[in-house]
Amino acid sequence: MTTAETVVPPVVRRPERTSRRSRMATASAPVALTLGLVGLWWATALVLDSSVFPDPATAVQRLLVNLEGARFLRSVTGTIARLAISYSLVVIVGAAVGFALGLSRFWSDAVSPLLYAIYSIPKVVLFPLFLLFLGLGATSQIAFAFFSGVLPMILMMTNAAAAAPRLPLKLAASLRMTRAAVIRKIVVPNALPAFTSALRLTFGLTFLGLLIVEMFSGVSGLGYELLRNIPLARMGDIIGEVILVVVMALVPVTALRALEGRIHRRYSAGGAK
């Protein structure tokens, strides 16, 4: 037996004690960490030269100043508009195609390997193709952002539609339910939790795709603004914009997570406790 090393850590997965104390701890811990990180940032900025590494207050201030400028504001609204369009298309087209594909076990088995192969290619290197065929404007950017998000959506929805549990299907068959009724009453509700997860995951991917191509070839948009400031070495502006990007991402994603949680509780067999 070795010396000072402790015995095996206590079994980690204790049953959830929903005492007020532990619930407060669960909610406050990430907040505490975030505040700690911001504090660390501030301290570092104070130590380093503030023009090279600005503190949070300066960054926010630069952001607010920029938002008053017409060009920057146009960039921001442009990005938001393009994101909204591409994400809507991802959800509508991706979910429809994926779900329809998943209903046929044969064709989903046949087409899935191709989709996975395309999915594993680093998609960003395909962007020049979009530029070649769709030109330099918003169309190619929206198309690429759509492409980034739609593939995982299709794959996830195909799995969701194919994963209808067998016993309810047998029950439906014994009741002589039509195919349409089975899809409506069993397959769709069963796929809803996976759909909400896919909504959350593909949002991040779509936004990421859009930002990357704006950085590469935009003449307007947040990605363009970010890249534009590099040669100008305007760190305050850059960090301010990054803060804006983070907020733009977190707001919808937090909402989508809440939706996901609600639907999972109601719809999955682990269900409403």
Binding site: M1, E5, T6, V7, V8, P9, V11, V12, R13, A25, A29, P30, L33, V52, F53, S104, F106, W107, D109, A110, V111, L114, A117, S120, I121, P122, V124, V125, P128, L131, L132, F133, L169, A172, A173, M177, V182, R200, L201, G204, F207, L208, L211, I212, M215, F216, L226, L227, N229, I230, M235, I238, E241, V242, V245, V246, A249, L250, V253, R257
Partner: protein, 273 residues
């Protein structure tokens, strides 16, 4: 009481019947191959007959030829291919090591887990590449910023999967370990890591995919060398042949990397035996 022949029309619903083994005589894998080849043939035809302009689309045969040509060009090999692969490998190694270690830390400390998990959950919703400009201003265009951004992009998927793996040790096994009075180190090496291997392997495979995407995307946006930069440069200088050849090479490299790493990791993954 009649003896039936199997030709009787049974009204068993379609959604209950097993999927057909073949459609038009082909099984799903054969269909995947057929569809893939048909797509390539369509592209070849479209570009050769001029349906799509020669400046936009290159026949796959010529893509392959140019790619082979690039592979014999030492300038290309040392200037673009090897640096990129090296960066991907370095990113993968660092992200993998850091990820597993961080997951162990989160598993040990309940507070760390509570503080970090919500942040990890939304991590991929935020476009991580937005910080690339910050790093470029601080460190210039070079290897370091690319490495940092790519590692940051890839590490979280490794952490979340590894954490799942650590959590998957059955409670009864943990109790056995405590009854046998294993030290923390013995528990780590003899119980925790082996149990976590399948999920860690899954996380590492995803980590490789994300490393590849991260390196290529950052090279693509802004760099002076590497495969990503090669494609961006080819696009900007209208060298369409080179561009397509580069894309083809990236697909091949990504495929080879994935298959090799999957095979190496598959040897220790006990769930797949």
């Amino acid at each position: 009481m009649s003896i039936l022949t199997s030709a009787r029309p049974y009204r068993i619903p379609g959604y209950l019947r097993p999927r057909p083994a073949t459609v038009l005589g082909l099984a799903p894998p054969a269909w995947a191959a057929v569809l893939g080849l048909a797509a390539m043939a369509a592209v070849e035809l479209a570009s050769r007959t001029g349906v799509v302009s020669k400046f936009d689309l290159v026949p796959p045969s010529r893509m392959a030829a140019r790619a082979a040509g690039l592979l014999t060009d030492t300038g290309f090999l040392t200037g673009q291919l090897v640096p990129s692969i090296g960066l991907i490998a370095a990113t993968f190694a660092i992200a993998g090591g850091l990820g597993v270690a961080a997951a162990y830390l989160l598993w040990r400390s309940e507070w760390c887990r509570k503080a970090t998990l919500p942040l990890l959950g939304v991590y991929y919703a935020v476009p991580v590449f937005a910080v690339y400009p910050i790093l470029v201003v601080l460190f210039g265009v070079g290897t370091a910023p690319i490495l940092v951004v790519s590692v940051a992009f890839a590490v979280v998927v490794v952490i979340t999967n590894s954490l799942t793996g650590f959590d998957s040790v059955p409670a009864t096994v943990t109790k056995l370990a405590r009854a046998r009075r294993l030290t923390a180190r013995q528990y780590l090496t003899k119980v925790l890591l082996p149990a976590a291997v399948p999920d860690v392997v899954a996380g590492l495979r995803l980590g490789l995919v994300y490393s590849t995407i991260g390196v290529l995307a950052t090279e693509f946006i802004l760099s002076t060398k590497g495969l990503g930069h090669f494609i961006a440069d080819a696009y900007h200088t209208f060298r369409v042949d080179d561009m397509y050849a580069g894309i083809l090479l990236i697909c091949v490299v990504a495929l080879i990397l994935n298959v090799t790493v999957a095979a190496m990791l598959g040897r220790i993954d006990w769930r797949r035996r």
